[in-house]
Every structure is written in C-alpha cells, then in structure tokens.
C-alpha cells in the first residue's frame, strides 16, 4: 500500500505544538497570510499563547480531529499547517483548513499537493463521503488550487467579509468521494 501521508512535493507530519507555535507566530507577522487564512481581525498573539491552544487541541485524541504539519520532501522544511475536522459522522463530512505560511512556497503547487494528500487520507483512511472547505473571494490562487484538486463551488455567504474597503463573499467548496475516486483511479487503493 502507498504511504498515505506523502505526496510529490510535501508530506504530512506530526503536529508539534512547540515547533508549530514558533513558526505560526512568525507566519502571522505577515498580515496577508492572516487575511487569507481567517476572518478575524489580524493581530499578533504571542508564541506562548499560540502554544497553549495548540497543546489543548492536540491533547484531545479523537477520531474526529486530525492536525498535521506540512513539510517539504526536498528540504524537510516546515512550511505550513493543516487541520481536518469531521463535522458529521452520519453524513461522513469533514471540514478542511490549510495554510502555507512560508511565502516563498506560494504559487508553486505545494498547496495543491497538500490537498491531494489530504483528500487521499480523508477518503481512503478516514473513509469519508465528502470534504468541505471555505475560502475568501479575494484568494483566487487558493480557489484555483482547490479546483485543480477536484473541489466544486457549492455556495457562498454574500458580503461575509469587510476588508480593504470592500465586502467579499465567503465561498464554500466541496468534493464527494465518488468524484475523487473518478479523478484518482490509480491512487484510490
């Protein structure tokens, strides 16, 4: 069987709160990263504060929650983070969120590779039926990456965000197990 956590450019690795909180704190000094990754006002929580909530999150062992760090295969460098939360077991749907914090890895296919690995994990390891995500309208790079991985546009919250003097939609995208199987007949096992 394939190594389910390794892709072509990256692998999903353990989420170590100490290492991750330092990197995450540094990534968030970049307000653009924050604005792409969440809707809260950009701010700068301390590494200690970030370590605390990360430790709380990983302390709970649950079949519904998966946290990974993202490392490059070439340099074994920590470049991002990823979380998968199963939101509904009878529908077997999960919500995914990922971020590449190291900006020199933007726009080079790393995010798409992460998503491909994540989808294989979600559909062949957790045996989910669908995966959902949301993305902001002003993040076309991410939207294109998700489309490449097989996500379809399913809906949007109109004028959800108010940023840089504009109101923007929050877009919801999803992919079904059958759709992913159709795209990945060679890796489905």
């Amino acid at each position: 069987m394939k190594d389910v956590l390794t892709g072509k450019l990256v692998r999903l690795a353990a989420f170590d709160p100490e290492e991750m909180s330092k990197a995450f704190t540094r990534w968030n000094l970049n307000s653009e990263y924050q604005r792409l990754s969440n809707s809260d006002p950009t701010r700068m929580p301390s590494a200690k504060r970030n370590a605390k909530w990360m430790e709380d999150r990983v302390a709970e062992l649950s079949p519904a929650r998966y946290h990974f760090s993202i490392r490059t295969l070439a340099e074994d460098k920590l470049i991002g983070e990823l979380g998968l939360d199963v939101v509904d077991w009878s529908g077997r749907d999960a919500f995914v969120g990922l971020g590449i914090g190291e900006t020199e890895y933007w726009g080079k296919g790393y995010g798409t590779d992460v998503m491909n690995v994540l989808l294989r994990f979600a559909f062949t390891e957790i045996n989910l039926r669908r995966v959902t995500l949301s993305v902001f309208e002003y993040n076309p790079r991410a939207i294109r990456s998700y489309e490449k991985a097989g996500f379809r546009h399913e809906g949007y919250l109109r004028n959800f965000l108010n940023r840089a003097g504009h109101r923007w939609n929050e877009i919801y995208m999803g992919i079904l197990r059958e759709e992913w199987m159709g795209l990945n007949t060679d890796t489905a096992g």
């Binding site: 079949p63 519904a64 199963v86 077991w89 009878s90 529908g91 077997r92 390891e125 957790i126 045996n127």
Partner: protein, 189 residues
C-alpha cells in the same frame, strides 16, 4: 418520518441515574441473567458504585462512538432492560449489547423488538454499514432472536468460556446494511 424510539412492544428511553441504578442493582442479583450477558464472574456491587458507572455513561452520551438506551414496554410502561452501541467511526460499523432484566419479559418477543429498533437506528440514523454482536453458545434463545432480526452466524471462538465445568463457544454474528435494507421490503424508513 418514523418515531425511531418506538417499536411494536417497547420504546427506547432515558432513565434517571437513580432509577437505573436501583433497577440494575436488582438485576445483578439474577446470576442466570449475568451469565447470559457476560463472561465475567457474577459479582455484586453497591448501588452507589452502579450509579457512578451510569453517571459516567451519561457523561459519554454526547460522544459519536457511544449510544445507550433504557427500554420500557409500551403496554405497561415498565422499565425492563437496556441496549448499548459501541461505534467504530472510521470503519462505519458498531457492536451492540442488550439485556432484559425483568424475567417475566423473556421469550415473548421483547428482545427481538428491541433489536429491530436498534437496527433501524443503526442503518437509517447512524448510517453505518454493519452491526456486530457476540453471544454465548449456551444462549439459544438470544441466537434465535438475532437470526429473526437478520443476523448471520459469522464465526465462533471454540471453548473460550468455562462454565460449570464445561468449555463452551463464543459466537460472533453480524448483519450488513444491504441485507437489512432488503429485509425492509420497500418499507421506507
């Protein structure tokens, strides 16, 4: 839609820990019941201890892996037994255990009715793919009841139980979603 907690003879309900502890305390004094249910030596516990277990169980009652019900008759509204499910979320399957503490309700179809209600819950509400159970070979009444509900004998652990100087087998039974659906004869649930 159907009332998922109401069968033909019984209904699923939730007893207060005090009520449940008093009933279960009484039921633990029935060693035949104990030997039908379990492989452990029959033991007696204080009402306080039993109540602590029940309270622990109710603390778990929001977990997607754990479901437990008290059972009452429809005719007399009498509290007669219990049924619990242990779900494996990743593989979409569960184990069931049930018992009727009040002996005058043995052999009258109450257990079968409980199991039918359970199967409907497992396949139409939890949307699982299979349900498993274990039963002692010396409990033919239970085995017949499970067969009536559609369970098939899948395996046997030979001689793993020593009771009254004789080694007896544990039987493993299971039912698949597709088998159960077929038994519903187009009766949409």
């Amino acid at each position: 839609m159907k009332d998922l907690f109401r069968g033909e003879l019984v209904r699923f309900t939730l007893e207060e820990p005090e009520t449940a502890a008093k009933a279960e305390l009484r039921w633990t004094h029935d060693t035949e019941l104990h030997r039908l249910l379990d492989g452990d030596p029959a033991q007696l516990f204080s009402e306080k201890k039993i109540r602590e277990w029940i309270e622990k169980q109710s603390a778990d009652s929001s977990m997607p892996e754990r479901y437990s019900f008290s059972v009452r008759t429809l005719a007399e509204d009498q509290y007669i037994g219990f049924l619990g499910l242990w779900v494996d979320l990743i593989h979409s399957e569960a184990w069931v255990g049930l018992g009727i503490g009040e002996r005058e309700f043995w052999s009258k179809g109450y257990g079968t009715d409980m199991m039918k209600l359970c199967l409907q819950y497992v396949f139409t509400e939890l949307c699982l793919e299979r349900l498993s159970l274990g039963v002692h070979a010396y409990n033919p009444r239970a085995i017949r009841s499970y067969e009536k509900c559609g369970f098939r004998l899948e395996g046997r652990t030979r001689g793993d139980v020593l009771r009254e100087g004789r080694r007896t087998d544990s039987l493993w039974m299971g039912i698949l979603r597709a088998e159960w659906m077929q038994m519903q004869n187009g009766d949409r649930t």
